[in-house]
Amino acid sequence: MLSAAFSVLTLVLFFFIYWQTAIYETNRIDAILNSEAAALAGEPQPDLVRAVGMRLSIDLHRITFAALFTPQGTLIAGNLQQKPAGLPSDGQVHSVDANRLNPTSSDLEPARAIARVLPNGDLLVIGRNIDELVELRGLVQRALILGLVPAILLSLVTSIVLSTRTLNHIKVIHQALQRIIKGHVRERLPTRGTRDDLDLLVYAVNDMLDEISMLMDELRGIGDNIAHDLRMPLTRVRARLERSRSQVVSTSALEQTVDLAITDLDQISATITAILRIGEIESANRQAAFTRIDLGELVTELAELFQPIAEAAGITLQARIREEGAVVGDPDLLMEAFVNLVDNALKFTPSGGTVFLTLYQGAHGPVVRVADTGPGIPLDEREAVMKRFYRSDKSRHVAGSGLGLSLVLAVVRLHGYALTIVGDPPGCVFEMTCASDSGRAPP
């Protein structure tokens, strides 16, 4: 289909070029004839005969016609047997068939000619052979037949072959896709190595499948973690309920069992809530709710919120605001993230320790630093800590969902901020660089 359209287009183009060339050539010849006829007509008769003779004598290629006829049509001088048939004596250039004196062949020659009546009644005819144009036309026809027709055929055949091959390839791809849909997630679409559009598409799809597989593996890991976090308290609840059902000692013992069961169920609920919350933060289009925030205000509020908790735990909480920290973001989510960071810091800091909250201007933007004098996070654990839904074995013994950092990371990702753990243990220092491009900035 496409190749047929292409062939037609080529044909039209070819013809157009021929047509334009022919017009150009004809116009050129006509202009020359017009000016020559005008020049010759101005000559007196004896000079004119000589001029006609001269004009013919320099015509080595025998392409020029020039002749002078009496009003009766008798040739006075020149190389035409008679005035070409159908040539009006109107001083305009016309296409005619000229009959040369002493012709090399018996055929009339195609020509452009002009006939002009002179003041004394004689008729001046000059012309030019246009065999070249006729030959050009022949050339175009031959080119069409010899070149274009096979080319069209070739392109048709090629396109049929190619489209058949492409169709076959698409069929293979389709079959592979069907297998992937049926669950063979490790399978990839076949490529041909031709780097054509289809191949590039296949590469892109394969990359996407790789990414999905990776995410699925990650999710499976997360699923295992979450299942673990939910199963532990569930197992406890179940065991306690079962035991107290079979060996009821006293009402108070039963009450205690029920209370413990409720506590465990609350923990399960908290874990589920935290997971859903993280999912919500990650999935929703929250950038719409972004506004200008004064980080200084947020940090002040944070310190005020946690001051009593720190005091109760025998920890010093110090807030240092070294700059205004105007950023764009979701104030509620950022507060939630900071609350989790400070909460973690307080949980892991022993009594007598200090938690520092600092807002300062970093190289890439305002930085909120939460530093504590607790044990810190071992260097080899830091990468893992930054993964989704990671729970440190240590954090399992501390109250809460243990997903606080995952939530912080979700908020950080949403904002395009960067969260880093700096320095060596002991002491844990989290730094949140609050600039939307800091995630891409070099560490």
Partner: protein
């Protein structure tokens, strides 16, 4: 203890028992809620589907509607929108297993008055029901007095009897919130949302610690305590008779 206290309040105010309509398709949960709220002095009616609830609401009057968010037949939010469009102003407490903050906002936007995420403590539910039935005391006066305690809303000062109490701004807000709801249980979640205006769940016992601090300032050693902890639920500001 809570039950008896509520009984006292009832008699004091000579209120009729509030009638509640619970719309919940999980029968097991409905039975528990009914039993708990009945024990707290409420009359509970139950419907299991949205369409039945809508019919009931058109013929019967209730003081409060407890509405499950996801119901067979008619969605909870659609019910709220429908009855609100029909001019029914009955307060609505939405109960939902959808915990998302956005979901909560959607519930309140649709015309709900409060939103409680499943699973919830029954005490939390009772406190919210109570809070919706008894809207806080809105006074034009600039001084709020409950028992021996007096706070000036303009000067932001507090006094118990003749003793001046120094309060931080947040503590003042906390106290004002409690005094406006004297005799009423307020939960940690209610306080965190209404006094701190945070829309997330506090990760620690934040509210307890702040409340402890406030309580030490309000109730000194030899004084009769005004701020009470309600086990597993929250707090109450109460002046003894």
């Amino acid at each position: 203890m809570m039950k008896s206290m509520r009984g006292e309040n009832r008699m004091e105010h000579e209120e009729a028992q509030p009638r509640l309509l619970l719309v919940e398709d999980d029968i097991g949960l409905a039975v528990e809620i009914e039993a708990d709220l009945a024990a707290r002095g409420f009359i509970l009616c139950h419907e299991a589907s949205g369409t039945a609830a809508l019919e009931r609401l058109r013929t019967d009057r209730f003081d409060l509607l407890l509405l499950d968010r996801l119901l067979p037949g008619l969605d909870g939010l659609a019910i709220i929108e429908t009855i609100r469009a029909e001019g029914n102003r009955t307060p609505v407490l939405v109960l939902s297993a959808l915990s998302a903050v956005d979901e909560r906002i959607r519930g309140l936007k649709a015309g709900g008055d409060d939103y409680l995420t499943k699973p919830f403590a029954l005490g939390e539910l009772a406190a919210r029901v109570e809070a919706l039935l008894r809207r806080p005391v809105e006074t034009r006066e600039t001084v709020l007095r409950v028992g021996p305690l007096e706070i000036d809303l303009i000067d932001r000062t507090a006094r118990r009897g003749t003793r001046d109490i120094e309060l931080l701004p947040r503590e003042f807000k906390l106290l004002e919130y409690l005094m406006r709801r004297a005799g009423q249980v307020v939960t940690r979640d209610m306080l965190f949302a209404d006094v701190w205006h945070y829309r997330f769940i506090p990760p620690t016992n934040l509210v307890d610690v702040h409340m402890g601090r406030l309580r030490r300032k309000i109730d000194e050693a030899e004084e009769t305590p005004l701020i009470h902890s309600i086990r597993a639920v929250g707090f109450m500001f109460r002046v003894p008779d």
